[in-house]
Symmetry: C2
Subunit: 155 residues, 2 copies
DNA sequence: CACCATTCAGGATATTTTCCTATATTGCAG
DNA sequence: CTGCAATATAGGAAAATATCCTGAATGGTG
């Protein structure tokens, strides 16, 4: 079900992306409305799937996950069965935070968050032993310049 | 202030990452405790910065942001002033969801979420007109295989 | 075993969510 | 422009929840 979002909806989403812990009254004040319409709009956007999840963002360093790798993968395999097993392997591994199938030269990109280079190597060895890939390049993040889950909304 | 996380803390974090809308009683039930210790532990982890933010994850497609690009950037510039301006430019642009400085051959990687290829080109032109970069490769995501903000926690 | 510090469960109160109702607003046909 | 129907709104009542307090339980230590 597609939902047409108006300016108030978008303001609410901006507030929720900024801080989902706010009370309805606070959000209502920030968007210039009252709690009932805000509540109805949030419920509607939840039901429509515009809002997918409320969650908490953790500090990777505080959890000892100090190494972030972007992994570029080329493969010569393109059969359905191989792909199914590859996707399953990625979905099953919690250190894989993102995985995209790409257009062009490089077939897949992964974002992998692990404790250190050794942990990455363990992950890498396990992955390539499970599914054959042609060429893998790992890019190691030295510094997170920016990291947000807030999608841009035309206010 | 570093916090030592025990098994209960990690269970709480797993629950909060899964669904931060749960009531304290629910979380307490799920981790086998009662609401007071859960509440105290959450507050402590918030204060310590382990929990950085409570937020809402939105569906990019529902907002008309149907194109996700990973952008690989090489530059010959490595002066402090250039870098400062480059970081500022990235932080100021809301379509840049992630930006990392990398080790090795490629200097930076960005994750950019936009409406379509045209919008990406607009972003790209604006960026290179603002700061000089040597070489830019854009990888277009065809399919999101996995996308999570949940960091792996040894339960 | 006794002491201290820490963590716990359960309860009291303040706050918030959830839903209802009556009013206001908007879009639209005549 | 006017009146009607559909929709959105503000405010309030009841239920649920967060927040904080108290006293009991626990675990490590001399």
């Amino acid at each position: 079900m597609a939902v047409r979002l108006d300016a108030t909806d978008r303001k609410i989403l901006v507030e929720l992306q900024r801080d989902a812990d706010q009370s309805l009254d606070e959000i209502a004040r920030n968007v210039g409305s009252s709690k009932t319409p805000v509540w109805n709009r949030i419920r509607k956007m939840r039901d429509a799937g515009v809002i997918r999840q409320t969650t908490v963002l953790l500090d990777p360093d505080a959890l000892g996950l100090e190494a972030c790798f972007f992994v570029l993968i080329r493969t010569s395999e393109h059969e359905a069965e191989w792909q199914r097993r590859f996707l399953e392997a990625l979905r099953a591994r919690p250190e894989v935070l993102e995985a995209h199938r790409l257009a062009g030269d490089i077939d897949y990109i992964l974002k992998v968050q692990v404790a250190n280079a050794r942990a990455y190597d363990t992950f890498y060895q396990a992955l390539i032993s499970e599914v054959r890939v042609h060429n893998v390049t790992a890019l190691l993040s030295m510094e997170v310049i920016k990291s947000t889950t807030s999608l841009p909304l035309k206010a």
